[in-house]
């Protein structure tokens, strides 16, 4: 299981990476923007995408839409971890096909719960 972590703040990428390691996910790769994430996704091999919303180049919501629109990537599980909390945003993400939406600041328990939920749904399909 290879997980791509996308956030423009290096500290947040590091925190998520550490939390994933605690949950047993050791194979992670990082990108600092939706823009730099795309070539990584297109190169293949990524099984799970965790992304922030507010990034200077390509925003997380647009990255999500791009992934869903790409035949090769459309089924990828996507988890948003973001400080964006407006209702319209959450609805937009859900309608764009996000699999989970975590708001910052978050707890390790929440991350674990949401990831487990996503995998449950995938395995049930």
């Amino acid at each position: 299981m290879k997980i791509l972590i996308v956030d423009d703040f290096s500290t947040m990428r590091r925190i998520i990476k550490n939390l994933l390691r605690d949950l047993g996910f050791n194979n992670t790769i990082e990108a600092d923007d939706g823009l730099t994430a795309l070539p990584i996704l297109n190169a293949g091999g990524i099984d799970f995408l965790i992304t922030d919303w507010n990034m200077p180049g390509t925003q997380g919501i647009d990255l999500l839409k791009t992934v869903r629109a790409d035949a090769k990537l459309s089924t990828m599980p996507v988890l948003m971890v973001t400080a964006e909390t407006k209702r319209e945003q959450i609805i937009e993400a859900a309608q764009a096909g996000v699999n989970g939406y975590i708001v910052k600041p978050f707890t390790a328990a929440t991350l674990k719960e949401k990831i487990e939920k996503i995998f449950e749904r995938i395995n049930a399909q």
Binding site: I15, N18, A83, P105, A108
Partner: protein, 242 residues
């Protein structure tokens, strides 16, 4: 008002000189008036032009609703944002320090209990321990080991919480970026204002009091009178004989 070009002005001047030479009072008066009118019309032209420019600049400013927004909404907003940064960083620091306070005793306990066992084990190895004492030691170890497990788990959990607490940097960083954006906007508008005010002011060279408290230095490397780190402080003091 008629506009006089240079040739016409020269002609009028010559006519005036002529009239003066001929002592023709009536003509002097007339020619003077012609020249004065030319001058006034010129002045009027200049003033008219300036007034139009000022009017347009002011209009640009009025149309710039951003300026009004900046004053009423964004500046107070910015104060809130910066206070949020102070608050968030304070909370994160205290949270982390709190977990450290909880974790240090755990590490100490492990160390102390281990020290006790090292002593006992040494006596056992030196055959200084009776069977009964050894049975007691075994019991103590049996109690101790699960305790190590629990302590280690607690330490791990505390460290994880400390990791999460560092999330403040991302949140405050996002807010600070917004503030930077706003400061840039205010800067642009101020530059516009200064241009309208017309006079290119020389920036005031303020003599800063070197003893005035400034808080942490942001660009320490580029300032010759600022030390970088404790080592340079110690070097400076020892070079002065302290």
């Amino acid at each position: 008002m008629e506009v006089f070009n240079k040739a016409e002005q020269l002609e009028a001047a010559r006519a005036l000189v002529n009239a003066i030479e001929q002592d023709d009072d009536a003509r002097i008066k007339t020619e003077l008036m012609v020249l004065t009118n030319a001058r006034e019309s010129d002045l009027f032209q200049q003033i008219g032009k300036l007034t139009r420019e000022l009017h347009e600049a002011l209009n640009d400013f009025k149309i710039d609703a951003r300026l009004i927004d900046l004053t009423h909404k964004d500046m107070p907003d910015t104060r809130d944002r910066l206070n949020y940064v102070i608050q968030t960083t304070e909370e994160a620091a205290h949270k982390t320090l709190g977990y450290i306070d909880k974790t240090l005793p755990l590490a100490n306990e492990l160390k102390q209990t281990a020290a006790k066992f090292i002593e006992s084990w040494q006596r056992f190895r030196n055959r200084e321990m009776s069977a009964a004492e050894f049975r007691e030691l075994s019991r103590e170890i049996e109690v101790y080991l699960p305790g190590v497990n629990t302590r280690a788990d607690e330490i791990h959990s505390n460290l994880s919480e400390m990791t999460l607490a560092q999330g403040f940097q991302d949140l405050t960083g996002q807010v600070l970026r917004q503030v930077i954006g706003l400061v840039e906007e205010v800067e642009t508008n101020l530059v516009k204002l200064v241009k309208i005010a017309g006079q290119p002011q020389q920036p005031e060279t303020q003599t800063t009091d070197p003893l005035k408290a400034e808080g942490p230095q942001i660009n320490a490397k580029n300032k010759p009178n600022v030390v970088n780190g404790q080592d340079e402080v110690d070097d400076l003091l020892s070079s002065l004989g302290f």
